[in-house]
């Protein structure tokens, strides 16, 4: 795969313009006032792992427990009614946010991983047979790979791997070759958490549907940055996590087309997901509750709703413009670091993620050394080992951005990396 080494002319005027708003938005995040160690402010460049939380979301969580801590669905007294209404209002908010046809198409889960597992284990076990094929791309996060390996193994279906181009993009020619009437499911990421690749989802959905296959989009890295209109896209399933989009942990979403959800057996069983239970059998509740056994994370769903309001107020047009600008800036400035190579597509065709390696340095040492400067980047395979094998690497260092990052934070990263190279690399 190509690493990038060209250094185009840098134009930061657009970024400067956007940063006025970024500075205002930063005051919403209590953690940004924090020093990592005395005198060292936090430079948070790890949004791809989890985003920071604005005070509104933190307060929504706390206020829920201060005001209407009650279990949902069955309570007739006032605060239980309020909790139920708040929980279902959060579901409606999510439905509007992704433009689902009805709130019933929105299942609350713990996160992307649970959402994908639910589809693999429930839809997969009911629908996959020997001879069937599931296609995943080579850049998938383990969450969108291992569940498919497992269900293919259990059902006798075959897992096919969609190749990447030299630029780290999905090879659509190969995709056309892979697709056949045997293809039952195409599970693909809306954005790579390593390379920043943004797959052409519309084209993928079109081709897959032509072949009669369903499409699951792993939206963990795309929904927080560009949203998703499930009707316009036409995908069959969409999975994403609250914690990567200003929401809390413990809450995520599985969107599924209603007919598909209705035909799927539940995985977890117990309270709330049943209509009627006798000692020997049970009848399931309607979707989406059929998939929500037990006490759901009510406060977390409510706080996710608040996060969606917050993102909607900022607007994806601003978020996308700013991310494009800061990613381009980072992409260019990082090349000033001796021996640094960036992996993946060029700056103008990637999300707000830049993974790189530095000659002679292990990513662990890089991450640990720049932490001295308060710079938080991630080192490892980012739960995408097969992709790293493909790159011929065990690990990379990753910087990722959101609407709260400033160009001067990129500058701090670059300075910290230069210092790392000066101190640690011994030219032999």
């Amino acid at each position: 795969m190509n690493e990038r080494t060209t250094t185009p002319v840098r134009d930061t005027s657009e970024l400067n313009q956007l940063e006025e708003r970024v500075r205002r938005l930063r005051t919403d995040f209590p953690i940004l006032a924090r020093e990592v160690r005395p005198g060292v402010p936090l430079v948070y460049l790890d949004t791809a792992a989890t985003s920071l939380k604005p005070v509104r979301v933190i307060e929504a969580l706390a206020e829920h427990y201060r005001q209407r801590s009650a279990n949902v669905h069955r309570g007739i007294y006032a605060i239980a009614e309020e909790a139920t209404a708040a929980y279902e209002a959060a579901r409606e908010k999510v439905a509007r946010f992704i433009n689902a046809r009805t709130p019933e198409e929105v299942v609350f889960t713990r996160g992307t991983t649970e959402s994908i597992n639910l589809v693999a284990l429930s839809w997969g076990r009911a629908n996959l047979r020997a001879g069937d094929e599931v296609i995943v791309s080579e850049l998938e996060h383990h969450a969108n790979l291992v569940p498919w390996q497992q269900i293919c193994r259990q059902t006798g279906a075959t897992l096919r791997h969609l190749r990447l181009t030299e630029d780290g993009e999905l090879d659509l020619d190969h995709f056309r070759q892979l697709l056949s009437e045997r293809t039952k499911m195409v599970a693909v990421s809306g954005g790579s958490n390593v390379l920043g690749t943004i797959p052409p989802l519309h084209e993928i959905v079109r081709l897959a549907h032509e072949a009669g296959a369903l499409v699951l989009v792993d939206g963990a890295q795309s929904v927080p940055h560009r949203g998703c209109d499930v009707q316009a896209l036409g995908c069959d399933f969409l999975a994403f996590s609250g914690h990567k989009m200003c929401g809390p942990e413990g809450i995520g979403v599985l969107y599924g087309r209603r007919e598909l959800l209705e035909a799927m057996p539940p995985l977890y069983t117990g309270g709330e997901m049943v209509k009627k239970v006798s000692l020997t059998e049970a009848r399931w509740n309607d979707v989406p509750w059929k998939f929500e056994a037990g006490t759901p994370p009510v406060a977390m769903a409510v706080a996710l709703g608040t996060a969606i309001d917050y993102l909607s107020e900022i607007g994806f047009s601003f978020i996308e413009a700013h991310e494009a600008a800061i990613t381009r800036y980072a992409y260019e400035r990082l090349q000033e670091v001796p021996g640094l190579r960036i992996w993946g597509p060029p700056a103008d065709r990637r999300g707000a993620v830049v993974s790189f390696s530095i000659d002679g340095l292990h990513p662990h040492d890089v991450a640990q050394f720049v932490d001295r400067f308060g710079v938080a980047v991630r080192a490892g395979h980012h739960c995408a080992q097969p992709l790293h094998e493909l790159l011929g690497l065990r690990a990379t260092t990753r910087a990722s951005f959101y609407f709260y990052n400033l160009a001067e934070e990129v500058d701090r990263l670059v300075e910290a990396l230069q210092e790392t190279v000066r101190k640690l690399v011994r030219r032999l």
Partner: protein, 147 residues
Amino acid sequence: MSGFDDEIYRDELLDHYYSSPRRGRLEQPDVAFEDENPLCGDRVRVEVKLANGTIEDIRFDGDGCVISQASASLLCEKAVGKRVEEVNRWGVKEVLQFLGIQLTPVRLRCALLPLKVLQVALAIPEKKGWSSAESPRSDSDEPRCAH
């Protein structure tokens, strides 16, 4: 005491609950349906006699809370003499209007059960009263997870 739901248990609704003129069975109903709200055990059965697309006679039976049973009684009162198409268009608005009260979502389920039962009854072929146990369901593909 707040005024929030004072009216819910006003005398008129308790009258319908304790002694509805519409409670009972028909000799030879054209259509009938019975279902329950599994979350609370409210159960309502509706029997209807039809004549030229009009509800000629109607009775309900069942047990449950004041809301569900009073709603069933009022629904029967309002439905008799109406055309099937009209009754099929009724929804939340009409039910709350009949009851004359506001309801929170959980109790709304109780109030809506009778209308749901009636509309299913009107949708099924005449002279073939299904109970919910026999009705076709799509909510489970586990063969043994029947009603």
